[in-house]
């Protein structure tokens, strides 16, 4: 616990960790927003969520290798993943929308395995990053460094999330999506093509994750097996916040980001992932205890 003493003796380090946590937390929240959307509308927990993020990262890398700015990777990843999400829906997901949740869990688990291994075959398992070429901000007499790309990613994550939120509130399709999530049968009777709504929802989620992945590869790093932790984080954020609670998703996302930074610093970076999974169990147990008091189960 040497690092704990360090934190107490140099409080400014806390600021550094907190800020680092907030930057990445916004990206967690973005992926969680998508998971909540698919979960709420289609009643599917998409285990392949993190793999969409990972794919978005690799697409951005390809954009950069083609000599373009990695920033263009954001729209590129979103578009490619939108198409991929749509295709996945048309080939696989539509068959399992009304099925038991266990079937959709296993099927999306299969999709996630397939995508991990596919990327591993094509790109190898190296850790990669897209150099943005941006510099650093120095605060508090150079005690706190802030990478400009991380700030940019943070801002963009919020902008993308806000845009999607406005889209869901205002547009025709957004209204159809919300109607379907509340009562698919009623929506169908009222003439909403719920099949198209599902396809759009799944594709929008994929696009959202793709954009998040583009931010991840620019500000952080990516490899074929990076997806699973993102899935777990999204899930954790959604159960902390509840479905359809955007404010909660943002708060939980930022909180998780910060918690991970502190845990990584205190326990050592090699245990950061183990910490994420442990935290998931803690969160689930906490939810269970809250619900038990209300005579309910986590379901």
């Amino acid at each position: 616990m040497d690092n704990l003493n360090l934190l107490i003796q140099a409080p400014i380090l806390n600021v550094q960790l907190l800020l680092d946590g907030l930057w990445i937390g916004a990206i967690f929240a973005l992926a969680a927003f998508g998971m909540a959307l698919v979960w709420g509308v289609m009643n599917i927990i998409n285990v392949a969520q993190g793999e969409f993020v990972m794919l978005g990262g690799f697409i951005t890398l390809m954009v950069m290798e083609a000599g373009l700015s990695p920033l263009l990777g954001i729209p590129a990843a979103a578009i490619v993943l939108f198409v991929l999400g749509w295709l996945l829906y048309r080939v696989i997901i539509w068959r399992i929308v009304d099925a038991d949740m266990f079937i959709s869990l296993l099927a999306t688990f299969g999709i996630s395995i397939m995508m991990q291994q596919l990327m591993n075959e094509i790109f190898g398992s190296d850790v990669r990053t897209a150099e943005s070429g941006l510099g650093m901000f120095y605060l508090f007499d150079n005690m706190v460094t802030v990478s400009q790309i991380k700030v940019l990613a943070f801002v963009l994550a919020f902008a993308i999330g806000l845009a999607l939120w406005l889209f869901l509130k205002r547009s025709r399709l957004g209204q159809a999506i919300r109607a379907t999530s509340q009562n698919p049968r009623a929506a169908r009777i009222l003439g909403i093509d719920t099949d198209r709504v599902y396809a759009a929802t799944y594709a929008i989620n994929a696009a959202l994750c793709g954009a998040a992945g583009a931010l991840v590869v620019m500000a952080y790093s990516i490899h074929p097996y990076v997806g699973l932790p993102y899935t777990v984080r999204s899930f954790m954020i959604v159960i902390m916040a509840g479905l359809g609670n955007l404010g909660g998703v943002i708060a939980a996302g930022l909180g998780l980001g910060a918690a991970e930074q502190f845990a990584g610093f205190l326990l050592g970076a090699e245990y950061q992932l183990a910490f994420v999974f442990l935290l998931l169990v803690v969160v689930l147990v906490w939810r269970q205890m809250v619900l038990a008091r209300r005579r309910q189960y986590l379901k």
């Binding site: 399992i96 949740m101 266990f102 090699e270 689930l284």
Partner: protein, 350 residues
């Protein structure tokens, strides 16, 4: 009666093949040892996944725990474990004579099973109170977390892994581990066949069909789920112990907590054969293992991609699995027959 007879014949045939294995396929004995272990993996996954309706993505954790616990016990009975792992298991000072080797196995394998079962019970009490999909996601990261913890723990060799005790030259270990694997598969199968015939079997099926109803009828659903997972982990832990010895070397991520391979395989084998049936996992494991051995090399690294695709295809297009399909196709031969049930309860009622 003919279906009962067919069952008996199938079991006898498998038993004879199992016992005569060393003479039937002497060149592939270690592959067949693994096949028996794979049958155990599929059967134990199905116990919770198929019969109880709770998909676990993290059962490989118990496989790994059993593997390490068995190896540590085998070593720890005679040498300080930390020194052994620090020396990478090599060196002339860590020699096991025949008695020591057999004793180590006799103690180590049950310890492996027990440690895995304890882990499942502890973990289950925490995460089996919630419903299936939450449980499923909660298990998703278990293998990774366990692998990282094992890779950071110096006592068991950390990232550089652990060598299992080297057997004395006089022991034919291929034969030994073949029969151990076969015996474990036979015992697991027999135990589960019996378990599914008890009221406990019905109780876990009730959870699969409608957990709310089971709860409303006063079942101890959480207790039953935890017990189910614990039983599953016990056999899985022993399988892990044997597998570790068979592999001679335990790498934390590539052997013990190998979620991307073994962890996926056990799920695939169970659903391929038919979830929630006794024979399904056995058939699924055999079909999968033979296919894997035949085609693995031709896929040149793409096999893991194919596995993911295979899961999707089976779950979406062939969810009933081989045995489920047989039951649908020829219900008179494989489905439940009325006469038999009546005969069965006439016997029980008398």
């Amino acid at each position: 009666m003919n279906r009962r007879l067919a069952n008996v014949i199938a079991i006898l045939a498998l038993g004879v093949i199992g016992i005569l294995g060393p003479w039937l396929f002497p060149a592939h004995l270690s592959q067949f040892s693994k096949l028996w272990l794979f049958i155990v993996l599929a059967l134990t996954w199905d116990l919770l996944g198929g019969q109880t309706g709770y998909n676990s993505f993290g059962n490989v954790v118990f496989f790994g725990i059993g593997m390490y616990a068995a190896a540590v016990t085998q070593v720890g009975l005679y040498y300080p474990v930390a020194a052994y792992t620090a020396a990478k298991g090599g060196g002339t000072e860590f020699v096991f004579d025949v008695a020591q080797f057999y004793t180590g196995l006799a103690v180590g394998l049950p310890v492996g099973g027990i440690m895995a079962a304890l882990a499942a019970a502890a973990l289950g009490m925490v995460i089996l109170g919630m419903r299936g999909h939450y449980f499923a996601i909660a298990t998703l990261g278990l293998a990774i977390a366990a692998g990282e913890l094992a890779a950071g723990w110096e006592y068991i060799g950390a990232g550089s892994g652990m060598v299992t005790p080297t057997p004395p030259d006089t022991i034919d270990t291929t034969l030994l581990f073949y029969y151990l694997s076969f015996a474990l598969a036979a015992v697991t199968f027999g135990f589960l066949a019996w378990l599914y015939s008890t009221r406990f079997g019905l109780a876990i099926n009730a959870i699969r069909d409608d957990e709310d109803k089971a709860e409303a009828m006063g079942h101890h659903t959480t207790r039953n789920k935890v017990i189910t997972w614990t039983i599953s982990a016990f056999f899985l832990g022993i399988a892990g112990g044997i597998f570790g010895n068979l592999s001679k070397f335990i790498d934390p991520i590539d052997v013990a907590f190998n979620g991307a391979e073994v962890g996926v395989w056990m799920i695939l084998m169970a659903i391929l054969g038919g979830k929630g049936t006794l024979w399904g996992p056995v058939i699924g494991a055999a079909v999968f293992y033979v296919t894997k051995e035949l085609f693995w090399t031709y896929l040149l690294g793409w096999q893991r991609v194919a596995l993911g695709a295979l899961i999707v295809i089976i779950v979406v297009f062939f969810p009933q699995g081989i045995v489920g399909w047989l039951k649908e196709r020829w219900p008179e031969r494989f489905g439940p027959s009325k006469e038999e049930m009546e005969a069965a309860d006439a016997k029980g009622g008398a």
